[in-house]
Symmetry: C2
Subunit: 386 residues, 2 copies
């Protein structure tokens, strides 16, 4: 196990009808900015529940955060914050809304020349408004970590600070019943790949972290497809297990003390940036290719993954790895997400542009060994075509 | 899954040579009381490391916290706290020292008539001094939760408050190399039973919590005996896995959203209170008896435990359960802890006194169904004799 520091102060309220607790988590005298996306929360009753919970608070709202939240959109919130002397942000939505709220929180108290530098120059966040979250789409884990990704002109750029980690998050699995199949698919696959990025590296004998990661993978494999099936679609227990898995997948716990990869994400970001493909759908295309191209480096963990997560038995390591990759792809297909370039109408011709973008964004030494240079990324993208 | 709230704000610094971080975690102007036990930290170098880390702080020390910390001992710290205007406690030791520091922290700011009421009358803690912990014995999880147990005149009484949860904890597996075999045994068994109390109840389909619990049990089963064997005794990776398992076993995570039992602990406390038997050694005597007496209520989880934790296969549920109980007892024997009354020179004659104590302490409706009344406890104690 590697040395680590772990700190996750987000208070979680989990379960049916917990949104009512929002009011007691925000200081009574706070001026709250309620931040949300395209308005789905007005259709599924979440907005009304939040408004009721905020009945003793002073609040205004800011909506229109898009999937892959855009810098320009987020900066529009700053005028509202100044005008109403906002001192608390409440993000109500999925990962994009929470990510967006994090940038708004940091930009609001930014004292430099241009808040864009938080992303472009990775200037450290010195102060930020406090954030609470009501999660409507289990996927990114953003409700309980300090990470955020913001898009500007086709460039998806991440930033991270403990100061933007939500102080509390409400996770009510019931609100996920109104999600579309595509949103459910994307969420489960995103969470699955988050776990894989922290698990499928090399062995440092971190037994707790490995077993926790395997437990999350197994849970997502078991429960994910059920949330898409008509006969089990309304089952709240399934939704609860997915929701809690997605939070645990990226709250820092399973990644503490182990090497991490993240190459699938970094390469995937370019597919979203250039072709506007849903984040999770880029991951399901890239991950199998990473497993194939980095097979030798990841051999020990690939075998462990095959045995423990998929129950693959037998003597031959190569066969076990083949089977594990095959089963991973089948799981993605069950979740109705693409696994190849051709599934999203891309082909070899798009690779040079993606490599150029990776270079532009400094993504030239990815993976747990920092050895995924542009040549290896090209190989991964080519593998994703075949 | 049951509804739950989960909040664990303790910042963890894990790994070799992390004690040096203590200084930066405590406010520079704090007046620190360094609290420890019998002085083993002076022999194994931990005291010196802590003193170096505190070189920029004002501090005094209070030692002599015993295993099963006594109320009378803890109250002696209060004069020191007043005299030196202490405003931060640093507990350096195992669970007893951390538990003791928690009571000291609450008693220091207690405004009622008698701080004993925090335990005796379960008066809620309104204020407490902040606490940091340097852990030397992985076992109780006290370094990252708000629980404490204090003993007075043969009575072990618990209290709990988020206000006494350590703000930070340093976990350096290297410091555990100087532990005696008995301390290692006790720690591993204590952590194992903590997991079991939150796992072996009834099924609420909480897949993440179940798999996390199973992962901790497997890790303790694999690594525990190795820490006692001459050839693997000095292996830091084994110690690290045990240490992280013990923290995760009782930091609230695996118990969030699931029913909990705790009858083994409550009955075990009486064995410690009356006969001064090490806490963990009471658990290894009582748990197998609870598994046998509550076999029907716990059937589904016992079968899952047999299959997933011990890899027991086959068709017959009864045989699987028998095997799982047998393997649990074998694990305890491998860990050199007793599993029967006779192993600690007790017998049937001691049962009436223990039942009387349980009654005195209001332990008349234990277990996840509150149905372990004094008759059932008697049956459990009798089973532990046979």
């Amino acid at each position: 196990m590697l040395n680590f520091s772990f700190h996750n102060p987000t208070k979680i309220h989990f379960g049916e009808d917990q949104i009512k607790l929002v009011g007691s988590e925000i200081p009574a005298d706070a001026k709250v900015l309620l931040i949300y996306g395209g308005g789905s929360i007005k259709k599924n009753g979440v907005y009304d529940q939040v408004v009721t919970a905020l009945s003793d608070h002073t609040w205004v709202e800011f909506s229109g955060i898009e999937p892959n939240p855009r810098y320009e959109t987020l900066m529009k919130a700053q005028a509202l914050i100044k005008e109403h002397q906002i001192d608390y942000l409440l993000a109500v939505g999925g990962g994009s809304v929470v990510d967006g709220a994090k940038f708004i929180a940091a930009a609001a108290l930014y004292e430099g020349e241009d808040a864009w530098n938080i992303l472009a120059k990775q200037e450290p966040v010195e102060k930020a408004l406090p954030i609470g979250a009501v999660l409507t789409l289990p996927a990114t884990g953003s409700e309980s970590n300090g990470n955020s990704v913001v898009t500007r002109e086709g460039n998806k750029l991440p930033f991270s600070s403990p100061l933007v980690c939500p102080q509390f998050a409400v996770l009510d699995p019931k609100v996920t019943l109104s999600l579309s199949d595509r949103q459910i698919s994307n969420g489960v696959v995103d969470a699955f790949v988050h776990v894989m990025e922290q698990y499928l590296t090399y062995n440092v004998n971190a037994k707790v972290q490995d077993r926790f990661a395997e437990g999350l993978l197994q849970t997502l494999i078991e429960e994910g497809p059920k949330a898409l099936r008509t006969e089990t679609k309304e089952d709240l227990t399934i939704r609860a297990n997915i929701m809690w898995s997605a939070t645990m997948a990226l709250n820092g716990l399973i990644g503490a003390g182990v090497p991490q990869d993240w190459s699938t994400h970094m390469i995937g970001h370019e597919l979203t940036g250039s072709f506007n493909i849903d984040h999770a759908r880029t991951l399901s295309i890239i991950l199998p290719a990473v497993m194939k191209v980095k097979r030798d480096d990841k051999r020990e963990k690939l075998v462990q993954y095959a045995e423990r997560v998929w129950g693959v038995t037998g003597e031959d390591e190569e066969q076990k790895i083949d089977k594990a990759i095959e089963l991973t792809e089948e799981f993605f297909k069950d979740m109705k997400v693409p696994t190849r370039f051709s599934d999203v109408e891309l082909n070899h011709q798009h690779i040079p542009n993606l490599i150029e973008k990776l270079e532009q964004h400094g993504m030239v030494a990815l993976g747990e060994h920092n050895d995924i240079n542009l040549d290896v990324s090209k190989k991964i993208l080519e593998t994703a075509c075949s």
